[in-house]
């Protein structure tokens, strides 16, 4: 089913939208979640939560690319879950307290942080557009999708070591670009 039709189902509050999203992008979402979490159980929960988030946000959202939209949601949820798991395992007491106290922090701080991340996103996008098509796809597949170096190397027909060096040069390129833009990360 076309993305536009699936989005229309969300807008019509038709639960078939979730089924269609799962059919079309379920495997895509699972791969992203697995790349971040490396846990099938957590991955399943994240993907399930992703559909819930889609249901809650459409409407009012009407994304141009449903794949990018659900991908961003599952990625965000997976990163959040990863952070939560890490907090539990490594910094149990303090992290839980801090996370609870974070709810009390005034809004400006979070607005400022969001703005910074958004600005970074725009800069990264601009930098990516300046790259060749293959380098652009490579960076996105590695750092947005979280695809492994091994699988990408196989797709490219090159040795993983050679790809690692290529990715390093890409990261150095991004750092140089951000520095030239006066952004400290």
């Amino acid at each position: 089913m076309e993305d536009a039709r699936i989005i229309e189902l969300y807008w019509q509050r038709d639960e078939g939208a979730i089924r269609e999203t799962d059919t079309k992008y379920g495997a895509f979402c699972q791969r992203i979640a697995m790349n971040i979490l490396s846990s099938f159980e957590d991955c399943e929960e994240c993907v399930s939560d992703t559909y819930g988030r889609c249901w809650d946000t459409m409407p009012p959202q009407r994304p141009l690319s449903l794949r990018a939209y659900v991908g961003a949601i599952v990625r965000n949820l997976s990163i959040s879950r990863y952070r939560a798991q890490r907090a539990k395992k490594r910094y149990n007491g303090a992290e839980v307290l801090l996370s609870e106290l974070a709810d009390c922090v005034p809004a400006p701080d979070s607005v400022q942080r969001t703005a910074e991340v958004r600005e970074l996103s725009e800069l990264i996008s601009r930098w990516l557009w300046s790259l060749g098509e293959e380098s652009r796809a490579l960076f996105v597949r590695r750092y947005w999708n979280g695809d492994s170096v091994k699988s990408l190397a196989q797709e490219l027909g090159m040795q993983p070591n050679a790809l690692t060096k290529r990715l390093l040069r890409l990261r150095e390129g991004l750092r140089a670009y951000l520095e030239s833009e006066g952004v400290a990360v």
Partner: protein, 189 residues
Amino acid sequence: MRPEERLFDAITGIDEELVESAQTYVFHKKPRTWQRAASLAACLLIVASIGFGILQMASIGGMGGSDSAANSNGAAPESGSDAGVADDSLVGSAGDTTTGDSPDDGGQTAVTSFTATVLEAGDGYLLVEPVEGDAMLATADKIMVSTNDVAVPDGVAEGAVVEITFDGLIRESYPAQISGVTEILLIDG
């Protein structure tokens, strides 16, 4: 939050178009060294096979090798590497098919006859031109006919019209060459 975590978050928010195009992008595999070497070897093998095939055809063509007839300037064009023989491949016959398959050609060609005017009669060869209306004219306008293995009737000279029967194999050189000539009849002396 650690700087890399901020970057990780920021990457999530890159343009949707970037994400979409990366999902559909097909990486072009770069051939590895051994693959390049294998490709080169395969190419060389093909070239060698073609060369060998051409030499083989030249050697079994009938007018090659032992032929020593003169050409129109005094030496007949021999098959294979002789100067004056270009594009030495074989084409099918175009004349009147008279009998069954030739024993030498594996059934691919048939014994053929055509009528031609003799342009030149030399030692061991005739240079002929198919007459108007003969199907052979569509194949070649000048044909070198080896007469080493066939009797040439008396009176065959420049201007004579002959009927030539051969095994159907035509060597696509210029002039074209035919082999396996079994009979030459004088039609008009």
